[in-house]
Symmetry: C3
Subunit: 262 residues, 3 copies
């Protein structure tokens, strides 16, 4: 009984997610469907990639992860499936799997060109239903990975790799969680390679320089700080507050990690 | 392992949906439960009917679709189950299945009067839990359709049939999706019976006359247009914008399809 | 095939809920997962306790109910599992199960101290994933209840018991539903012990005294009243309106039940 997880920006008020589930259950009735999230900010590939990264490691090996945040649908962007030791990843080739693939020991990817694994007619606007859901279902049923299409090299997006410069590291906000915490694309591990955490100051957008602490309680309620979340990525937070609202931060806002002068 | 889908306006912050699922799993432990949506605008039967229509065709034959948007609960409105070649539809007899039934080759309906298929005591306010969920579960388990109650003729709502007049077609908005696109009750097919799509202008509420195009990109970002969505129904949209907000449209707003004078 | 239900304040836009589900399915692949709600107001134990109370009675005996609203995570608060005739309840020992346990004939509770039933490393911030989800999964698989840890007495929270005084009963609002109805911690049953329902006036916060009726339609649209909802608890409502918004009520607002002078 394999698991298929679903991640999208389709929202929960329309029938789009149910269409995908109906298609999957029609092909592979025995699978377990698990929603990761369908409330990704519309077309935000970074946020989708981060949310998938936080969740996929907790699923059993062989799980099929379907991720459809697809601003390029109808254009020339490729549709891919990727196989790793952790499982399968099915979605548009727009960098959505960047954080996952950088975290895996190795991977193999295929272009989803085999029309036998697609609905007919293939719409130009809803590949989640017509192309990605059937591919995920066939993989879950045990279809040979090689049959999906020719080998390909998946896109690893620039936003998944912060830039290291003379004065520090430049990253960006890639996700905002329910509580307004703003997660950056910079891990504590990357920072620690350069210098001890306590030596850094973090500046998000036009905001003030913030300390990098290990727990909320190092600052007074209402005050902002940077800290490493349970995912390992550094986030901008406000103790008992909403950092996104209080500091005016958005997905894509630049975040600078600066070394204090000694 | 039959599938039971669930659609309602109960929202996701309370325990109402879980009550229905508990009841269903108590009667039919082997079913697969799939949510269609529980964020239908409160008491909006039109929107529920449209969302169900977009999703049901993608489920395997025999699927049981439970749809509870029920402003008439506690009144004399009937409770029904309908059987078609696609599956079963269980809910209040208020027109919620209109679009589905107009799309099916035939159907047979029953009044849900058999008390053996209801919880006791039957509340006057929560038939989703006490009446519709048990009926759906018993159908999924294979209960004889004839046992549910006497035959009946389900309501086909007026809003499911736009009015054709001298100067064109008068419809209305029946659903607003996550992106603010406003779906009308008029299909491209109905329009094409009268005249080529390119000959029409579409006027929603007090708004300006809009062109009817086949793709968003025919207008500049920020501009409004009408186009046929993946469901086949014409919708009012704004390229990269939110039509409902920008044009002040709501469910129920009248939409006029006018033939340009030659 | 046991059922595991999930209730939390994690929201639906992040990957937190999916992490818990992945952990559960890794340990107990055969369980049925059912969401109760993940949109509990952040850290509101009262609201979570009420929503669980409304739903759990409709699930089959033996169901495992996982409830993670956990403002005390990382502190000394205990983690518990409780067994009753209705099923199992797993979560923080912060009173979240108060209404359930007051409604059950008896119960037995264990401190979740057995490290064999926890993920390693155990984070200090996400016990839902690392501690509660594995415990729920092991219970669903049939692990011996005694193995979970030593016996304990679960906290029954003060808010679950309104105070009876000379002039009446003092309660508070413990949940606000999708429609803005404000549910109190006072049942119609408790009131009836003192005096007939018709003799009471209800005052929520700084608002006016309201009548206690049996149906919305006893007041004009737009007017407020108190009435007993389907859960048995008295709620403050506005006929066709939103009581929370109209009357400025919040979870925790005091509600006074006053006996009219004869």
């Amino acid at each position: 009984m394999p698991i298929v997880t679903l991640l999208s920006d389709f929202g929960l008020q329309d029938g789009y997610v149910a269409c995908m589930k109906g298609v999957i259950l029609g092909i592979a009735p025995e699978v377990d469907l698990v929603d990761v999230s369908h409330l990704i900010a519309p077309q935000d590939v970074r946020s989708a990639g981060f949310v998938l990264f936080t969740a996929y490691r907790y699923f059993p090996p062989g799980t099929v992860h379907l991720a459809v945040v697809d601003p390029g649908v109808g254009t020339e962007r490729k549709a891919i499936a990727v196989r790793t030791e952790s499982g399968f990843f099915v979605g548009p080739d727009n960098g959505i799997f960047s954080l996952v693939l950088k975290n895996e020991a190795g991977f193999e990817a295929r272009n989803l060109e085999n029309a036998d694994f697609q609905l007919r007619p293939l719409s130009s606007t809803f590949h989640g239903r017509d192309l990605f859901a059937p591919a995920a279902a066939h993989i879950a049923r045990g279809a040979s990975f090689d049959l999906l299409g020719p080998e390909t090299a998946p896109m690893i997006a620039q936003w998944s790799s912060p830039v290291r410069g003379k004065s520090g590291i430049e990253g960006e906000i890639i996700h905002i969680d329910r509580f307004g915490n703003c997660i950056t694309n910079v891990t504590l591990q990357e920072i620690a390679k350069v210098h001890l955490a306590s030596a850094w100051r973090v500046k998000a957008g036009q905001g003030p320089e913030l300390p990098l602490y290990d727990t909320y309680s190092r600052v007074q309620p209402g005050n902002a700080l940077a800290l490493a979340g349970s995912s390992g990525f550094v986030e901008i937070a406000v103790n008992r507050g909403n950092a996104a609202l209080n500091l005016g931060l958005r997905i894509g806002t630049a975040v600078y990690f600066l070394l204090e002068r000694a």
